[in-house]
Symmetry: C2
Subunit: 215 residues, 2 copies
Amino acid sequence: MSSEKLAPRTRRPRRKKGSSPKAETKRQKILDSAAKLFSLQGYAQTKLSDIAKEAGTHAGSLYYHFKSKEDLVQDVLGMTMSLLSNAVMAKVNELPETATPSERIAAGIQAHVLHILQRGFYTQAYMKIIDQVPAHVRRAYVMAPRAYGNYWRGLLEGARQAGELRTDLNPTILRLLLLGSITWMLEWYKPDGPLSADQIADEVTKLFFDGARKR
Amino acid sequence: MSSEKLAPRTRRPRRKKGSSPKAETKRQKILDSAAKLFSLQGYAQTKLSDIAKEAGTHAGSLYYHFKSKEDLVQDVLGMTMSLLSNAVMAKVNELPETATPSERIAAGIQAHVLHILQRGFYTQAYMKIIDQVPAHVRRAYVMAPRAYGNYWRGLLEGARQAGELRTDLNPTILRLLLLGSITWMLEWYKPDGPLSADQIADEVTKLFFDGARKR
DNA sequence: GTCTATACTCAGATAGAC
DNA sequence: GTCTATCTGAGTATAGAC
């Protein structure tokens, strides 16, 4: 059950006829540039000319690849959650059959933290701009995190069933607090800080399982 | 040491000469309206005409009270952290002398959660728009949360000194994870959800102190 | 103090040459 | 496919009446 990937969000299921591999490469470069700038500056603050410059082209040229700025941001959002959830699921699925549910959770935490702190401009962009895009765009893309949330629900539920988690905590709140504390890292994490992303993931895991109280 | 308030951020230390109590009231209403709309829609998405409408006036009229939209948002940001930290400090200071450091932390969590979920349009606006305002504005206001962060640092350090918290967790990360999980509530909390703000605060406290593992 | 009308600016979008 | 030049609309800001 944990092995199937989330359905890829295919807003643009087929290439425009006539678009070449070259165009596809350029298109990808534009998306990467957009994700980067959105993550750093937000949606409204990022001008198409900024994105074009980052991608080595000009504002007007973007319109060969995208209908509008809104169209562009939708593609960025569309790629985001599948990148993250695929990374997390892959890591969890790497575990041996004998892994306990708690070990699966720990692996998921690790993978999620590393993904958002190290790789993903896309994830960072998503978190930053999901609140900034037009409402109808947002509505179309909040389903993606929900699917990912369901994956975590399963992870936690598995551990609970196995008797590894306390039963006096609301499972939904538990999940939201865990993922929230990780998501918020994007606001304070600095790559050159004293702790590595790996170490930070360990701290989260320890706190999540055992709390901060001395015993 | 926990009783002094954070220095109020006084961008506008004195009234413009000639400004009346009436103007001051109106000004406040405009700020409240702006905080509300910023928290709901973000910075760029909120037009001055929206704010004016909400405050029962017109876009042009705002310029009697504020030099610019940027000036207005700075006042909103300026009020935010002091409202939050005053609420939290007040609650913590209400505790009897005999309260343990852990009880102080629990009270702080409670107050912070209730404040952002129930009251504060200002806090919600702050969280939402701090990433959306021009960089030089942001720079001027990131100090405010830092001061609040220091208050929490003290709260946690007190408990650690008293031997109530484990010492194998990085205190800074611990603080950021705790406050992050709370901050992120603004993204998922719905007033009509199954759990009250009070109950959610309890869940956070339990998870923070004792973790999710079954014992 | 607040209104209405209007000027200005910025950035998204389009057209057409190459 | 990409460029430059240009159009247009939205929204901030100003002016001047009341």
